[in-house]
Subunit: 392 residues, 2 copies
């Protein structure tokens, strides 16, 4: 038992080093870990036998010698990643490096309830697996983002306002009737923050992803870790009051909420009040792209309102990157210009000196990439792997 645990721990330790995909020699691995070269040789063989790492050819050909560098084998397993939005859903198969192998998107109303939506997800994932020549035995984990608060430890939505029928639904339990793999569930803005950081800002430890669409919310990464808060509702900035909106009712029952002023539908309403034909956020985006001056002004003002709330966020968590995403981010720089105008005027110089406020790099891919991250991170974690080593 003792030997097995120690072996498992050192195999896992070695693998955590190799996870970044950078090829390393046995000598480099020995140096980084402090383990003896004989131990390294044994562990490398074990990881290769498991298929988790793969030999990488040297840059310079070395003739007939055995390959001397090793790295993560991203093809060892796949994960199922899903981004469930309010009215639209995406499911994808990715490898262990987060590369999307196949993907399918469809209009789907989350209010249909958990069983229809998750059944759609399973069917879609099964078809995609077949398309890429894999099967459920190759699936290491499932990652899912949903548009509401989630108790991350159990994978259950908690009082989600726009997800009728999902409250306390046991998403992992439901999947386990079909597939016995770990299921990680999180709020969609949290998965977007993970996706944006992994693809757009590797190594950045303090990042906020702000989604501006039908609703407004943020995913907060602080100290390198996604912050979910005590009830899993961290980042729920859509119902913070902004000064301009004292008389605007919000569907939450309060007045002057950011979402009631700066979301896609809110901007459309403002434009209608000015006699401009706009019913949805998409209409607003189209108007801005066609150069409509009222739409550009309304979007800029929405940016200022968002900036008002973000000013406090910048002071509180001191991020180095704020990435603006969600469907309204497609309006481009007009929205971000409004955000920057207020944040750089109002926040302290120390907090904004190295702060970038930018359009999301991953845009609409953020959610599914983050769901893949969530699944891969779990599947390759020391805990998951150690269990795998000991029990296999």
């Amino acid at each position: 038992m003792t030997d097995t645990s120690i072996n498992a721990a050192s195999v896992s330790q070695l693998f955590q080093l190799l996870r970044d995909g950078v090829p390393r020699t046995r000598a480099e691995l020995a140096k980084s870990t402090g383990l003896a070269r004989s131990t390294i040789a044994l562990r490398v063989d074990e990881l290769m036998r498991m298929g988790l790492i793969t030999p990488v050819a040297d840059a310079v050909s070395t003739g007939g010698r055995p390959p001397s560098q090793f790295a993560l084998n991203p093809a060892a397993k796949v994960v199922i990643a899903a981004d469930i939005g309010a009215s639209h859903a995406t499911v994808a198969i990715t490898d262990l490096a987060g590369t999307v192998l196949a993907q399918h998107s469809e209009d789907l109303d989350v209010a249909l309830g958990p069983v229809p939506v998750l059944s759609w997800l399973v069917e879609g994932a099964t078809a995609l697996l077949e398309r890429v020549g894999r099967n459920t035995a190759n699936v290491a984990a499932i990652g899912i983002g949903v548009p509401g608060p989630v108790e991350h430890s159990t994978g259950q939505p908690v009082n989600p306002p726009i997800m009728p029928g999902w409250d306390r639904f046991d998403i992992p339990g439901w999947f386990h009737q079909h597939l016995e793999v770990p299921v990680l569930v999180d709020n969609d803005v949290n998965t977007m923050a993970l996706g944006e950081r992994a693809v757009g800002w590797p190594g950045i430890e303090h990042l906020m992803f702000v989604k501006i669409a039908t609703g407004i919310g943020a995913g907060v990464i602080s100290g390198g870790l996604l912050q979910r808060g005590a009830q899993g509702v961290a980042g729920d900035i859509g119902h913070v009051q902004v000064a301009r909106g004292a008389n605007v009712p919000c569907k939450c029952g309060n007045r002057g909420c950011l979402e009631a002023l700066a979301s896609g539908p809110a901007i459309a309403r403002t434009l209608r009040e000015q006699g401009v034909e706009a019913h949805t956020g998409t209409d607003v985006v189209d108007l801005v792209k066609r150069g409509n001056i009222e739409a550009i002004q309304a979007v800029r003002q929405a940016g200022r309102d968002i900036g008002e709330v973000l000013t406090t966020c910048v002071s509180l968590v001191n991020p180095s990157v704020i990435a603006i995403g969600g469907s309204m981010a497609r309006v481009g720089e007009h929205l971000i210009a409004g955000v920057r105008e207020v944040v750089y005027t109002r926040s302290t110089p120390l907090a904004t000196e190295h702060l970038s406020i930018v359009q999301s790099v991953t845009a609409e891919r953020a959610g599914v990439l983050g769901a893949s991250m969530l699944a891969v991170e779990h599947a390759l974690s020391p805990e998951a792997l150690t269990v795998g080593f000991v029990t296999r």
Copy 2:
């Protein structure tokens, strides 16, 4: 080398278990770690030889048998903990459980600059060590809170507005001329958050400590970890704009900052404008304690202003506890009532359902307790101990 590393790692692993002070038997330790009982016996002997753990007598006397339970020996070493405020400083000696063994406080102007202030600290600490019968060889680490932003990795203040002469001063380097132990430096509100959590709210993972005094700032613990942000200025909420203050100039150059409306001096100024004699925060506290109605109203309004900013903080980080501290917290419930009034009205029900907004449990002890935590956490960390094991 391999064997030494693995031994050091398992000794450290065992010690991390015993750090909580709960006595455990060898059998319990074997079960928790998965290590063989023979290995446990060797490691326990090693930790006892180092003085880090100590036998604990059984509740029921077992006659002549050797003691069978072990726990952290808090007396193994001491740490020096210091809370440097704007105009007042405290230095203390604590044991490894954070218990204060001796303490000294004095009015001291931080603007005197680093050398006079740190010399005062060394002299004070030396005298306290002597008083408790210890010497510098017993000191495991030094923890210091200072009233400004700190780059935690180097222990250097960075552009601290009220600490002239301290910008980029190498505090650890200066101490190392006198004493070769680790020196941990942090912003004073951060240390207060650590102290409050350790003593008042053990096990709470999401806590904000809000200091209301001459300035206003917050220390944020999320996911169990103190969050310092990208530039070490996380929690700097004193210069967030509040709605009521559009025309009130702040010494930062902006207008309407929270600090310009709700700090001790700001409340005193409001009272003077109403013809009430008040020059400092202490005057305000005295007036409230004597039941002065204008002072009570002004303090309540300051609470509302602070609540306005905290509403956004609650939405963003979703804490389960907000502890109100700093010298103005001595006014008692009037201030907190104002905070609660706004936060519970304005924040989302999900974020406030399990939120406690309370007076700091540790009050003026928070800073020095937190500085002790900072030092002890470092001194007993697996990294610090492993280095100790290998090099000793």
